[in-house]
């Protein structure tokens, strides 16, 4: 009994002493923080998504105040927030164009299967096992790693179907872009219209053999584009959104129907799985 009492007493004494010492130290060594940092942090979304390159919203706020970082790095900041920060810092603030993530694959699980994959249900792991049995090396494996990582609930995922990203909710933080082991998620301007939903770099005949909704490199979109915004680069079709005027010619001409109109049809219901 005595042993227990003594040990409890000593431990409590140590704890109290340590606590008191720390409390004293925090008074003596208190650092004054610029009040603007706190106010700016309140304006920032507080999601700590690190899309701006700073590990947390607090660090970013202190960078804005101390190092003159521009507030437009925050992908989620809206007009009101930006002008509030501008008012606090006493300078003009311009927002960059909003970006949203899109998956460059139309119907990932449509790809032919080489074998039945029964392993762990994760894109990252399936990618190590011959792409989870998918014959297409560039498809969405649809285990939903991007759905797991999204902090904003912008991605909906039904088991076995390619996830859908809601452009209204997506903040363009780019976490899913980094997470995807196939590297088929891209950030595009929110105003973008045409989007090629295939990232295969295989030849047309190979694509045709493994997938019914893959890009077969017929290059009709490249030819039809009146603004030379579409190019065939490294084996797949790239749209340069700086040149694109959203005329929609390519959307109409694509024989496989895989150039999607992001502004109109990109709802969960409108796309086939």
């Amino acid at each position: 009994m005595g042993t227990i009492a003594v040990s409890v007493l000593i431990l409590c004494a140590c704890g109290l002493l340590a606590g008191a010492a720390l409390a004293l130290a925090s008074r003596v060594f208190a650092v004054k923080v610029d009040p603007r940092i706190e106010k700016i942090e309140a304006v920032l979304p507080g999601a700590n998504c690190s899309g701006c390159g700073s590990p947390s919203c607090f660090v970013y706020a202190s960078r804005i105040v101390n190092e003159g970082a521009t507030p437009d790095l925050c992908v989620q900041l809206r007009e009101e927030g930006a002008s509030e920060i501008g008012r606090l810092m006493g300078r003009e603030v311009h927002l960059r164009q909003r970006q949203v993530a899109v998956i460059k694959c139309y119907g990932g699980p449509v790809s032919k299967k080489l074998f039945a994959y029964g392993g762990f249900q994760s894109c990252r792991i399936a990618a190590y096992y011959s792409g989870g049995g998918n014959a297409c090396e560039y498809n969405c494996m649809a285990f939903g790693d991007c759905f797991q990582i999204c902090q904003f609930g912008a991605i909906t995922h039904t088991r076995g179907l390619t996830p859908r990203i809601d452009p209204q909710v997506c903040t363009g933080c780019g976490k899913c872009v980094r997470e995807c082991p196939r590297h088929i998620i891209r950030l595009v301007p929110a105003s973008a219209r045409a989007h090629v939903a295939c990232s295969s770099r295989d030849k047309g005949s190979v694509v045709r053999a493994v997938c019914t909704v893959g890009c077969i490199k017929c290059l009709q979109c490249v030819k039809v584009c009146p603004h030379n915004a579409i190019a065939h680069i490294d084996g797949h079709i790239e749209i340069d959104y700086a040149l694109c005027t959203a005329c929609g010619e390519c959307i109409r001409i694509c024989p496989r129907g895989i150039i999607i109109d992001l502004q109109e049809s990109y709802t969960v219901e409108a796309l086939p799985g």
Binding site: L11, C14, A18, L22, A25, S26, F29
Partner: protein, 192 residues
């Protein structure tokens, strides 16, 4: 002379990471680039040295007089955590530059097993205060040395072609094993 032998023995022969397998979490967690590894190494060296001195004093003046040696582990954890928090507060006030270098690593090592390990070993091997401090300092430097070597290797690994199944952490584990094997070549050079 004896202190010098102790210093090199704990730094290289009985290295905390590669021979005693302590502090493996920062060894794999913070060794991705050389800069952060060096900062982590500096922070650990500093905390180990300070913790050795403080826990030795606590042991000598509190635990032994009250005859509660069995409370060593829990009291040491408490003392180390307090010490690290205290140091962080002081650094924040006095040197923002140092705070930027070590700041985020200090909270990470409040409960680091290498730091606790060095304190417990000091007591177990019945060291004097000066020996304990040298032991802590040497152990910390050894830690910094190995984590920096690991970071250097990992920076090269980023550039090289690693088989798909080995990419990332698996290749690091293997690298760690090979480094441990290499360091075992020093075994027996110094007793202790």
């Amino acid at each position: 002379m004896e202190l010098l032998a102790l210093f090199f023995s704990v730094m290289i022969v009985n290295n905390f990471i590669l021979a005693k397998f302590l502090g493996l979490c920062p060894f794999f967690g913070v060794s991705r680039d050389l800069r952060s590894a060096a900062c982590m190494g500096a922070a650990v060296t500093f905390v180990m040295t300070a913790a050795s001195a403080v826990t030795w004093a606590v042991n000598d003046h509190v635990l032994i007089p009250f005859g509660v040696m069995y409370l060593q582990t829990i009291v040491f954890i408490l003392v180390i955590a307090t010490l690290v928090q205290f140091v962080e507060l002081v650094i924040k006030k006095l040197s923002p530059m140092l705070q930027r270098v070590m700041g985020i690593y200090l909270p990470l090592i409040t409960t680091n097993c290498a730091v606790l390990g060095v304190c417990l070993l000091n007591i177990k091997q019945q060291m004097s205060l000066s020996e304990a401090i040298v032991h802590g300092f040497g152990g910390g430097l050894g830690f910094a040395l190995v984590i920096c070597m690991m970071a250097g290797i990992r920076e090269r690994l980023e550039m090289s072609r690693v088989p798909l199944a080995m990419q990332g952490v698996p290749i690091c584990f293997i690298t760690g094993c090979l480094m441990a094997l290499t360091f075992f070549g020093f075994q027996g050079l110094f007793a202790g």
